[in-house]
Symmetry: C2
């Protein structure tokens, strides 16, 4: 199975959701991207349709926005 | 592993998220509850902290609100 990508920005909502997602789908099935630290990946996230973090982009390229930590605009700062 | 519970109300956003969740965590690991059809479970969902659907309640009782289909108030009608 292709990996999902979990985008977050280190906020408490993000960290909590990250733990849940890893528990649910398995650490090996998800790539974790911290947009606050890997700012060059913000473009990729936006192109994938990520509007807020935390968000999970599935292997078939759907975006699941999970709870609400911060908008992409806030991540850009 | 205890099952997660996926609450939805039949809306297009819900159905799309349901497919994604089943693909990600496996059909056997999630109980699907359609609150429009199983209205007696709306109370359980609210007690679990579900504010909108679709939402996934994890085995450790965290609530992941996924995208946004409808508020619980709208589901109650």
């Amino acid at each position: 199975m292709a990996k999902s990508i979990f985008y977050h920005a280190g906020c408490p909502v993000c960290v909590s959701a990250e733990h849940d997602i890893i528990n649910l789908i398995g650490k090996d099935n998800v790539e974790i991207v911290h947009l606050g630290e890997e700012r060059n990946k913000i473009d990729d996230a936006e192109k994938a349709g990520v509007k807020s973090v935390p968000a999970l982009v599935t292997p078939n390229e759907n975006v699941l926005h999970i709870n609400f930590g911060a908008s992409i605009a806030e991540v850009k700062g």
